[in-house]
C-alpha cells in the first residue's frame, strides 16, 4: 500500500473513528476507571484506586464461574443448534424462496421481536395455569412438563433462544447458498451427480466460510445473552440461569458493587475479543 493510499485511508476512516471514540470512548474509559477502583453509588464521582482487587474478587467468586459456565454452555449449544437448523432450512427451502421471495419475510419474523418481549411472551405461554401450551397438554394428555422448573429450565431457555435466532442463521446460509454459481450445479447434473453429492462436494465447501461466521456471531450473541432469559426466569433458582451479563447487571444495580461489575464487564469484553480474534484466525486458516 502506497504512502498516499494510507494517508487517504486514514482521512476517510477518521470520521468513523472520531464518532466511535465519542460514543464509546467515555463509557469505556469510565468502565476501566471503575474496574480498578473501590466504587459505590455514594462514591461515583470520587472512585478510589484499588488496583486489581475487583478482578481478584470476581475471579474468586463462585457465582462468576457459574455464570461463565452457563454462558459458555448456552452460547455453544445455541450457536450449534441455530446453525444446524438454519443450514438445513436454507438448503431445504431455497427452491421455495426462489419462487416466492416473500416467504423470507415470514420466516424472519422472530428476529424482529425484541428479545425482552420474547421472554415475556414465553413467560405467559408456558405458565401452567395461564399459558395455552400447558393448558392443551393437560387437556390432551392429563399432564404437562414444568417448562420453567429446575429440571427443564435450561432446555427451555436454549429452545427459546434457538427458535428466535435460527432465522438469522437461515438468512446467512440462504444468501451463501444463492451465491453459489448455478453453472456448478448444472455441471454436476450433467455428470449425473446425486443431490447429496452436490451438497457434499460443491455446496457445503462453498458455504463453509459462512458457517464459521454464523457460528461465531451466534456464539458471541448467546454468550452475552441477557434480555430474554432475565425477563423469562431471572437469575434462576440458586443462580442456575445467571449468564455473564446477568451477573454484571445484578452486581452493578442490585448489589451496588460497581467496581466488581465493571471488572467482570472488562473480563467479558476481553473474553469475547479473544474468542473473536481466535475465530477470525481459524476462519481465515480454513478458508485459505
Amino acid at each position: 500500500m502506497s504512502k498516499k493510499t494510507r494517508r487517504e485511508n486514514a482521512i476517510l476512516a477518521s470520521p468513523m473513528v472520531l464518532f466511535l471514540l465519542a460514543i464509546l470512548g467515555f463509557p469505556t474509559v469510565l468502565s476501566i476507571v471503575y474496574g480498578f477502583s473501590e466504587t459505590s453509588f455514594e462514591t461515583l464521582t470520587r472512585p478510589e484506586f484499588s488496583g486489581l482487587a475487583n478482578f481478584a474478587d470476581v475471579l474468586s467468586d463462585p457465582t462468576f464461574w457459574q455464570a461463565a459456565w452457563f454462558s459458555l454452555r448456552f452460547g455453544l449449544i445455541t450457536a450449534l443448534l441455530q446453525c444446524a437448523l438454519g443450514l438445513a432450512l436454507a438448503v431445504y427451502l431455497a427452491p421455495l424462496v426462489e419462487r416466492h421471495g416473500w416467504t423470507v419475510a415470514v420466516l424472519i419474523i422472530p428476529i424482529m421481536v425484541a428479545p425482552a418481549m420474547m421472554g415475556l411472551m414465553y413467560r405467559l405461554v408456558l405458565h401452567e395455569f395461564a399459558g395455552p401450551l400447558p393448558h392443551y397438554l393437560y387437556a390432551w394428555f392429563g399432564t404437562a412438563p414444568s417448562f420453567l422448573g429446575p429440571a427443564h429450565v435450561f432446555k427451555t431457555v436454549v429452545l427459546a433462544e434457538t427458535l428466535q435466532w435460527t432465522p438469522f442463521a437461515f438468512v446467512l446460509f440462504l444468501t451463501a447458498y444463492q451465491a453459489i454459481p448455478s453453472e456448478l450445479r448444472e455441471a454436476a447434473a450433467v455428470d449425473s451427480a446425486r443431490p447429496w453429492d452436490v451438497f457434499r462436494h460443491i455446496e457445503w465447501p462453498l458455504m463453509r466460510p459462512t458457517l464459521y461466521v454464523a457460528l461465531f456471531v451466534r456464539f458471541i450473541d448467546g454468550f452475552r445473552v441477557f434480555d430474554n432469559i432475565y425477563t423469562l426466569v431471572g437469575a434462576g433458582p440458586g443462580g442456575s440461569t445467571t449468564s455473564m451479563s446477568i451477573y454484571i447487571y445484578e452486581s452493578f444495580l442490585r448489589r451496588g458493587e460497581i467496581g466488581k461489575a465493571m471488572a467482570a464487564a472488562i473480563l467479558l469484553f476481553l473474553t469475547a475479543f479473544l474468542l473473536l480474534a481466535f475465530g477470525q484466525r481459524l476462519t481465515k486458516g480454513r478458508t485459505e
Binding site: L44, A130, P150, A151, G234, P237, R254
Partner: protein, 434 residues
C-alpha cells in the same frame, strides 16, 4: 433578520418557561401504576386546591415505570438529580437512599394517624425519612369451601391425619385457617395436592412464589420469624444458620419435593402465583395484602387471615412505601410543607378513600370502616403481627434479600443442600451487614 428575532423571542420564552417551571412547583416522583398512583393523584388535587397554597408550592406529579424503578432512582439520587423534590422510598431501601435524602419532621398528628409500628417503616438510624403512604404485609388466603368440606367429612379428616403422620410424623387434624400453625399449613397443602392425595379437588395444596427474586424472600421470612428466626442478634452476629431457618426452609422444601406447589413455581413471582390461585387449582397461599381483591374476585369463597403461627406466635413481614425529601431538591420548603400535610389525618383519609393502602392506627382506620374494611384488617395485623428483621432497613437490606433469594431458591430447586445454602447466606450477610 426577522427570522432571527423570532428565534430570539422563542428562545427567551422557552427560557422563562423553563425557569418558571423549575421554581413554580414541588415535583413528586411517585410509584407508577396501580392504586398508589391513583391515590397520590387524588390527594395532590386536594392539596393543590387549598386556597392558601402559594402558586410556587403546588405539587406536580412525575411517574416513570415500575420496571427497574428502584435501580433508576438509585442512579438519579446518586447523581444529585434535581428533577424531583420528593421521591418514593420503601422500608427495605431507606438505608440505600438515606445518603442522598434529608430526614423530615412530620405533622403533630402523624403518631396518632399511623402509629409507631408504621412510622418505623420509614425510619433509618432513628430518623424519619418519609411519610408512610402504603403498607404491605401478608395474608393467608384460603378456599373456605374446601376447608368447610374437609371439616365436615370424617373420612377426609382421617386421610388428612394419615398424610400428616406419613410426612410430618404426627397425626394432625384439620383446623380453621385462623388457628393454623405452619405444620397445619404444610399438612393442608399436602392433603390438597393430587401428587400426595389423588382425590384432592385441587391440583396443588399451595403455591410458593420462589423465583430468585428479593421480594419473594419477604413473603417467605414470616415463616422462620415465627420459629424465632432473625437476621442478626443484638450484638450484630448473623443468625440465619439457626434451627428456626432450618425448620422453615425444610418445611417449604418438603412442599416442593412432594409436588404440593407447582414445579414451575421456582420461576414464579407475584403475578404467576396469583394466576395459579385464581385458576382454582390451589387451595391456600401466603401472599401480599394487595392481592386481596384480585384473588377474592377470582375465587369467591376466598377467606383471609394472618399467616400461620410458629412457636413464637404469628408474624407478618411489613414494609411501607412512602415519600421523602431529595437532598438535592430545588424547592425544599414547598416539599417539606407537602410532606407535613401528607402526614395529617385529612391527607391519610383522602389517600385511603382514593384506593391507597396506608397503614393506619386503629382509631383512624375505624373512620374508614364502611369504605375500606380491609384497612382495618391491615392496621390490626400490622400492629399485632408486623415485624422488620434486625438489619431490615440497613443500607444493604436489599442485597441481603438478594443473597437469601439466590441461596434459598437453590436449596428448594435442589441445586444445593441446606447446609451449603445457609453457609453461603451467612457468609454473604456477614459481608453485607458488617
Amino acid at each position: 433578520m426577522k427570522h432571527l428575532s423570532i428565534l430570539r423571542g422563542g428562545v427567551a420564552a422557552l427560557a422563562i418557561a423553563a425557569g418558571g417551571m423549575a421554581q413554580a412547583e414541588v415535583t413528586v416522583l411517585g410509584w407508577p401504576g396501580g392504586p398508589e398512583e391513583a391515590a397520590l393523584r387524588a390527594v395532590t388535587e386536594v392539596y393543590n386546591a387549598k386556597p392558601d397554597l402559594a402558586e410556587e408550592n403546588k405539587v406536580e406529579l412525575l411517574f416513570t415505570s415500575r420496571d427497574g424503578f428502584f435501580d433508576k432512582l438509585q442512579v438519579d439520587l446518586a447523581a444529585g438529580s434535581t428533577a424531583f423534590d420528593v421521591n418514593l422510598i420503601a422500608t427495605y431501601s431507606i438505608g440505600r437512599y438515606a445518603p442522598f435524602m434529608e430526614p423530615v419532621t412530620l405533622s403533630d398528628q402523624a403518631g396518632a394517624v399511623f402509629g409507631d409500628t408504621v412510622l418505623k417503616t420509614m425510619q433509618f438510624d432513628g430518623q424519619q425519612y418519609g411519610v408512610p403512604t402504603d403498607l404491605s404485609l401478608h395474608f393467608l388466603y384460603f378456599r373456605q369451601d374446601l376447608i368447610d368440606a374437609l371439616l365436615a367429612d370424617d373420612a377426609a379428616k382421617a386421610k388428612y391425619a394419615a398424610i400428616a403422620q406419613e410426612h410430618l410424623g404426627k397425626p394432625l387434624e384439620p383446623k380453621a385457617p385462623a388457628d393454623w400453625t405452619w405444620e397445619d399449613f404444610v399438612a393442608n397443602a399436602l392433603y390438597f395436592s393430587q401428587s400426595v392425595n389423588p382425590d384432592s379437588p385441587t391440583r396443588y395444596g399451595t403455591v410458593i412464589q420462589a423465583k430468585n427474586l428479593l421480594f419473594n424472600m419477604m413473603v417467605f421470612h414470616s415463616w422462620p420469624r415465627s420459629y424465632g428466626g432473625n437476621w442478626m442478634d443484638d450484638a450484630g452476629n448473623i443468625t440465619v444458620d439457626s434451627e428456626a431457618y432450618r425448620t422453615a426452609l425444610s418445611q417449604a422444601k418438603l412442599l416442593f419435593d412432594l409436588g404440593a406447589t407447582p414445579p414451575d413455581s421456582t420461576s414464579y413471582e407475584y403475578a404467576e402465583a396469583n394466576a395459579a390461585y385464581a385458576s382454582g387449582q390451589v387451595a391456600a397461599m401466603v401472599q401480599w395484602n394487595a392481592a386481596a381483591s384480585e384473588l377474592t374476585a377470582a375465587q369467591a369463597t376466598t377467606g383471609t387471615t394472618a399467616p400461620p403461627a410458629g412457636p413464637d406466635g404469628k408474624f407478618t413481614h411489613i414494609h411501607g412505601l412512602g415519600l421523602g425529601l431529595n437532598k438535592a431538591a430545588e424547592n425544599k420548603e414547598g416539599a417539606i410543607a407537602f410532606l407535613q400535610w401528607l402526614s395529617t389525618e385529612e391527607a391519610a383519609l383522602a389517600y385511603a378513600k382514593a384506593g391507597g393502602a396506608p397503614g393506619l392506627a386503629a382509631e383512624t382506620a375505624a373512620k374508614l370502616a364502611a369504605d375500606r374494611p380491609d384497612l382495618v384488617q391491615v392496621g390490626e395485623y400490622a400492629s399485632t403481627y408486623g415485624f422488620v428483621m434486625n438489619g431490615g432497613t440497613s443500607e444493604k437490606a436489599l442485597s441481603v434479600y438478594e443473597a437469601q433469594a439466590k441461596e434459598f431458591t437453590g436449596y428448594w430447586a435442589g441445586t444445593q443442600d441446606l447446609d451449603t445454602a445457609l453457609k453461603n447466606t451467612t457468609a454473604a450477610m456477614t459481608e453485607l451487614l458488617k
